[in-house]
């Protein structure tokens, strides 16, 4: 008997289906179905996953979708061919675009308005169909001409008989043929509980209270052929096979066509790209490009032509030209970005000549994967680029890729728990008690320890939570991945509304796009680019030099010496505590060292135990050896230790004999979330492959362990290289133009790792003068002023909390060039603009009026007025006739109160450091200052103290916590081992001012205090608003 399932929903019909497309496809194959249609509700979001699973199997995978119409019942459309698929995709787009994100609108009549000439229609008319149903069926029959069928479902429910009678009657009366369909929501009956849970989640109730809404049985599974034989008449079953034969569309035949407008008339794309790259070569190498570079470019162009990617490079070139014209700083990254071609096209500023082209991949011929280029733009101006894309290509041709939001442990526990009837507070407590770091793993054991199994539903909660993990919940928009089509995008994939107004997303995520070889252009935002652009803009006036990102001098030894001392606050990517810790050990001396530095301080290399071997080999303490020349070629530049994702892939090919396709599958497995399971599938093949090529078992197993450790955390060299370029650029600016650098950073906030307070502390430690916010001297942004020939930083109003930019700018427009004379002058001139009392009070508290008036308390008092328009503020209780002779004089704040006010209104103080003030008052026990630590000896017992500015727990196995303390002379790095951290939690977890007794550990320039005993002294701190950056 032949049967094809023509009506089946995957879990991409959110909260309706409970099996993945892969599970459905694999089950359909196992059951011997001829075909399977994935017909998610107004969606094709699960189709690509199903297609991947069905590839190279005999199963005919049919593309389809179902639509509900409250008046006329349920419709399913199946694509017969490519044209039918485009028609289906357009209908879905129409339905989705007509409704808010996540929902759709559909009406039976739309099937007549839309061209669906290459689709097959299945219909289950509503038993209480609205008037006009007879007319509708007549019109549908005419429109679909023999491609129309009535669907017959049989679920062994109470209403089976009535339904059968109804479908038969319709068929006879209207003369429509009938086809049997399963209407499957799960692949196996064991999924029924999860399906019940999902329906309860959808209905916001519990499984027990679903009542008659609960599916009575598991007949919504993909049923065995025997079971289908028993419930469907043979002719109707047979019809499914007939329809299946008519549907011959393979998703793999979707061909992406590039937008044509990036090529001017009279050119071919390749020709034009050639011309642009030659122009670029002259621009980048005014003195003539080295021969090696020319050859490389020729090679790259030939490859681009061969693989037909010219349009892709031209599309990105078009974006960066726009950005350049607008003065928006940008930087490309990804394997293809680090090429001579991209350098010449201005996509990247990484000069391939100076990095000696260390990069493995440009575009891989053998792997047939699309070129990978992400372009980062200044975060404050990325929207301009996005709007340009929409303007240039139109909304029907460009849309963002989707991101599938999936269940994680917290959301899973919460939703499943609620569906099983656990009180929300109880679930929340369990979630709160899950260890923050380990919550994705071993969570079930932790829950067991909390006694979850004592609850009668505990066993179900654990099992169903496990089942639902990684199930999709809804589609969201990708951060910046655009798909741009030559024609209407909805011919290719349905487009729906995003949560943001005026944004549209397609129904596929980046994996789907990659699987189908569609091209995606990643337009991302990066704060550091904003900061660098703002810094560069200050150089001509204050440092008498002119630089672009690409012209910053390379290989500056001073810059590297600075980094070797871990003086990297504010420097892109290498400013975190963990990175700072590594800098003096790795001692970067050249650009490529920075590439390694960026990639090595990641959970992947750390968990794969690659850090220490690499450092030992670098210091010459361990011999560098390779098990063979092929491996040597791959690992030579990282001294025999695999550090980058590319190396792992390459090793699989050269050492284990993986084909391009297999290596690509391994890369996907590594990239997918929590992928250990998927990677394990390669174990046998990798190890056997290496043994077969004469490598030792020891080497093979070690390499495999490293791959597992890498997992999702492996960092690609191609991205690290682009990041290293920005890291170097920002380090160069910090070293040569520090004042401008801090201003650039501060004016791009919020971004990066450090608060303005910490950046300014760092600036002052670098002997840069910082001037306070002043009504006569400050602007909205921070700026540089010349003081004794040196640039100093004048703080801007953007620091003042609660102040609106527009409000203060109105006032600044009225400020005379000589400044306001006094408070009266200020009041008089600013009378014409709206400056709220609140804004004035904020300015007063920020001490912005100190050049005009007395201390800030008094200014604030003087400025505080009642809003006379508010009747509640008017005084009726006291006679206003009372004589206000003279006003009131308030005491000036003392130094600690000043500091407290600074923190409250600006988040930082330019006065003395709180620790210095408290020291002077003698309220702190004796302690060593940060600056003294370098003079002490290794192993010495010390007591240190400071404000806690950072708590960080890197994903290492040892469970160490890093803390940074700040005193008036600098910062102190504290290392907290797990046991102590646990014992003394009450002291450090919430402390703002902390005393640490411990052992000093010095290794070269690296100084740590290994904490032994801690005491929370926050109570002695008069300032409430000091923030620490914790556990990001």
């Amino acid at each position: 008997m032949s049967y094809a399932e023509l009506h089946c929903l995957s879990h991409y019909s959110f909260q309706r289906g409970a099996s993945s497309p892969e599970e459905l496809v694999n089950t359909a194959i196992a059951l011997g179905y001829q075909g399977l249609a994935i017909t998610d509700e107004c969606s094709v979001a699960g189709l690509v996953k199903a297609w991947l699973a069905a590839k190279e199997t005999p199963l005919n995978l049919i593309s389809g979708s179902e639509f509900h119409c409250s008046e006329y019942g349920l419709f399913v459309l199946l694509a017969k061919n490519r044209a039918g698929y485009a028609q289906l995709s357009q209908l879905i787009s129409r339905c989705r675009r007509a409704a808010e994100k996540g929902s759709y609108q559909f009406h039976g009549h739309w099937l007549l308005e839309q061209s669906l000439s290459e689709c097959i229609l299945l219909w289950r008319p509503e038993a209480q169909a609205a008037e006009g149903v007879a007319e509708l069926q007549d019109n549908l029959k005419t429109a679909f001409m023999g491609r129309h069928w009535l669907m017959y479902h049989r679920y062994l429910r109470t209403d089976d008989r009535a339904h059968t009678r109804w479908i038969k009657a319709c068929s006879e009366q209207w003369n429509w043929p009938v086809v049997a369909v399963g209407g499957a929501l799960i692949h196996h009956e064991a999924r029924l509980p999860l399906l019940h849970v999902m329906h309860a989640i959808r209905e916001h109730t519990t499984v027990a209270q679903l009542g008659s809404q609960r599916l009575p049985n598991a007949e919504v599974r993909l049923r065995e052929l025997d079971a289908l034989n028993q419930v469907f008449p043979e002719a109707w079953r047979q019809a499914s096979a007939t329809i299946c034969d008519q549907c011959r569309f393979d998703l793999g035949t979707l061909r992406y066509e590039y937008p044509a407008e990036v090529v001017p008339q009279g050119f071919t794309a390749n020709h034009y790209l050639q011309q642009l790259s030659q122009q670029g070569l002259r621009w980048r190498y005014p003195q003539g490009a080295p021969e090696k570079i020319r050859q490389q470019l020729e090679m790259e162009l030939a490859l681009v032509e061969e693989l037909d990617y010219a349009h892709f490079f031209l599309t990105i070139h078009d974006l960066v030209v726009f950005a350049r014209q607008q003065g928006i700083l940008h930087q490309g990254r990804g394997s293809a970005a680090n090429s001579v071609l991209c350098y010449c096209l201005g996509i990247t500023a990484v000069n391939p000549a100076q990095s000696d082209l260390l990069f493995e991949r440009f575009i891989s011929r053998e792997r047939n994967e699309p070129p990978d280029i992400d372009v980062d733009f200044e975060h404050e101006r990325r929207e301009e680029v996005i709007q340009y894309i929409y303007r240039k290509y139109g909304r029907d041709r460009a849309a963002l890729a989707a991101t599938v939001i999936t269940y994680r442990i917290r959301s899973a526990l919460k939703d499943v728990g609620k569906a099983l009837g656990f009180p929300e507070a109880r679930i929340q407590q369990w979630i709160d008690r899950l260890d923050r770091r380990d919550q994705e793993e071993g969570w079930d054991e932790q829950l067991r320890c909390m006694g979850i199994m004592n609850h009668p539903q505990g066993v179900h909660l654990l099992r169903l939570t496990q089942d639902i993990l990684r199930f999709p919940r809804h589609l969201s928009q990708h951060v910046g991945g655009f798909v741009i089509a030559a024609g209407s995008l909805s011919d290719l994939v349905p487009v729906e509304n995003a949560a943001m107004p005026e944004r549209t997303v397609i129904q596929w995520d980046k994996d789907d796009i990659e699987a189908l070889c569609l091209l995606k252009v990643d337009v991302l935002g990066l704060g550091m680019l904003t900061a660098i652009r703002k810094t560069l803009a200050l150089l001509p006036d204050f440092y008498h030099m002119n630089h672009t990102l690409a012209s910053i001098p390379q290989d500056d030894h001073g810059v590297y010496r600075m980094l070797q001392k871990a003086d990297s606050v504010g420097v892109f990517q290498i400013e975190s505590r963990a990175q700072m810790n590594m800098l003096p050990r790795l001692k970067p001396r050249c650009f490529y060292d920075l590439v390694i530095q960026i990639a090595i301080v990641r959970p992947g290399p750390i968990q794969g135990d690659m850090v220490h071997p690499y450092l030992r080999r670098r210091e010459g303490k361990e011999p560098v050896d390779y098990p063979g020349p092929a491996v040597q070629q791959v690992l030579e530049r990282t001294l025999g230790v695999p550090i980058f994702q590319e190396q792992v892939i390459k090793l699989a090919m050269v050492a284990a004999g993986f084909t391009g396709g297999e290596a690509d599958a391994l890369r996907r497995a590594m990239a997918s979330w929590r992928s250990k399971g998927k990677v394990m599938a390669f174990e046998e093949k990798l190890i056997q492959g290496m043994l077969g090529r004469g490598y030792s078992r020891d080497f093979a197993e070690r390499l495999f362990a490293q791959i597992c450790g890498f997992g999702e955390y492996g960092f690609p060299e191609s991205h690290a290289a682009s990041f290293a370029n920005l890291a170097y650029a920002s380090a160069w600016l910090k070293f040569h133009c520090p004042a401008a650098f801090y201003v650039g950073l501060l004016n791009s906030h919020p971004m990066g790792f450090y608060s303005p307070s910490q950046l300014i502390q760092d600036a002052r430690h670098h002997q840069i003068e910082v001037l306070p916010v002043c009504i006569n001297s400050s602007g909205w942004d921070h700026h540089l002023v010349a003081r004794d020939g040196e640039p100093a930083i004048r703080l801007g109003f953007r620091l003042v909390k609660g102040l609106q930019k527009q409000e203060i700018e109105n006032v600044l427009n009225l400020r005379p060039t000589t400044g306001f004379q006094n408070m009266d002058d200020f009041e008089k001139r600013s009378e014409s603009v709206v400056l709220s009392v609140r804004a004035k009070e904020q300015l007063a508290s920020a001490n912005a009026f100190s050049s005009l008036a007395g201390h800030r308390y008094q200014t604030r008092w003087d400025m505080t007025k009642l809003d006379v328009k508010k009747p509640t503020d008017q005084l009726s209780l006291l006679a206003v006739t009372e004589n206000f002779s003279g006003d009131y004089t308030l005491d000036a704040p003392h130094e600690i109160a000043d500091m407290s006010e600074d923190f409250a209104s600006l988040g930082l103080t330019l006065g003395r450091h709180p620790v210095a003030l408290l020291d002077e008052q003698g309220v702190l026990p004796h302690h060593r200052k940060a600056i003294e630590l370098g003079q002490l000896r290794h192993g010495q017992l010390v007591t240190v103290m400071g404000l806690v500015t950072n708590r960080q727990r890197p994903g290492t196995a040892s469970g160490v916590t890093f803390m940074t303390l700040e005193d008036d002379t600098g910062t102190i790095n504290v290392v907290l081992w797990q046991d102590l951290a646990k014992q003394q939690r009450r002291e450090w977890l919430k402390a703002r001012l902390l005393r640490v007794k411990g052992v000093l550990e010095m290794e070269g320039d690296v100084i740590h205090v290994i904490a032994g005993d801690m005491k929370d002294l926050s109570a002695r701190l008069p300032v409430a608003k000091i923030k620490s950056r914790d556990f990001h």
Binding site: L156, R157, P193, S212, P216, A425, W861, L878, D887, L890
Partner: protein, 460 residues
Amino acid sequence: MWMYLQFPTLLLDRMQVLQPELKERPVVLFHEQEQRVMQTNPAAETVGIQPGYPLSDAWLLADTLGTFRWREARQRHLLQQVATDLYQVFAVISLDPPSGLWLDLAPMQKLYPEPQQNKLQLQQQLAPWELRYQSGVGATPLQAKMIAQSQVSTVADIPIGYLPCPLPLQEKLQRMGLHTLGALQAIPRALAGRRLGKELVVLLARIQGEQRESLHFFRPPVWFYQRLELTAEANSWQALRFPLNRLLQDLEHFLESRQQETRQLLITLYHRDDEPTDITLGFAHGSYVAQELAQFCQLKMENCALEAPVLELSLQARQLQPRHGDHGDLLQGPRQHKKSLPRLLNELQLRLGQQRVWGVQNHADWLPEHAWRKVLAGQPLGQAYVQDRPLWLLPEPRPVQIQHWVLLQGPERFTLPWWSQDGDQICDRDYWKARHRDGQPGWLFYEHQHGCWWQHGWFS
């Protein structure tokens, strides 16, 4: 003169008295919506937990943390009980729920001319409660309250943060350097009004007593109610004895101080999922002695089994009457008046056990056994929602010989509720309309798991 009493951990202190084992480990009460710590016991404070902490932080600080919901209504009720007790000594009391109350010391002046005497009286009266409290004395209610909360010695030293005014106003004052009430009071009132508004002027007037506080004076309640959360689920009557006796002792204390007695007790047991169980005990004659009442409860309890584990317990005594000299025999008193239906039901439940007196209600569910629910007796019947079901359902399905039947129509397949079983096996039943060889139409099902046939009902 006014005295203010602030009970920062009122509810938790009380729980510790009733369940002393709570003192052994860190325990907090938390706000359910905000998931924040509201009250802490000394053990919790020792490990560093403070009110206001997120509950998740509290868990980090103490692995063995005991957590209970903070219930405002219960704390308010408790505050009333404390006030009721203090009412025996202090004539004018005003509640400031949920955690404080005022005592007017002026009427006490004659009785206790020395201020120390008031304190002593207070200590004595509160001693059995084992509550932590802070007290403050002031010329006006507000002064007393702020002194109690801030624990400063003079009115002028009261920090601005204790002023009963909105936070933005407090912040405004502090940011002018006005950190204490004294600094604020030093400003001429009119000036302060002009700059800072009427609201503040009114507040200052209240603090000074220039404007009277409108306090509601406390009247003791006329009936008794107490509710108690158990430390561990109780599975037997035996486990309920100790907490119930505590409640009965409180009741005795309550009745004793009023010279009253009761003729009815309502004990309510709260379970996790099921409806609470009410147990009403009526007596022909009044009583107030805890021991006597406990004996009577024990008598009733011994014969009953707990339907579900008990999480909480409450005791109510409403029908109070002046104490009678002659108690008579509690168990033999004649009942004279006719009973109403609800009363009859209640008494039936008391005598027969709750599981033997109930009403039924339709319930939307596929499985016949789940298509109705036990409900409190006496409610009207709703609409049936599934057609085509037999009117006569057998109390239990019974096995049948399928040879005696002809299957007519079916199957309807129903999966048994997996969530009320331990395993994850899917068990199906196929229901059929069938005719018995005697001609009667019946409702059969085939059970897949065991491969056998059962009859579940008769049609007409």
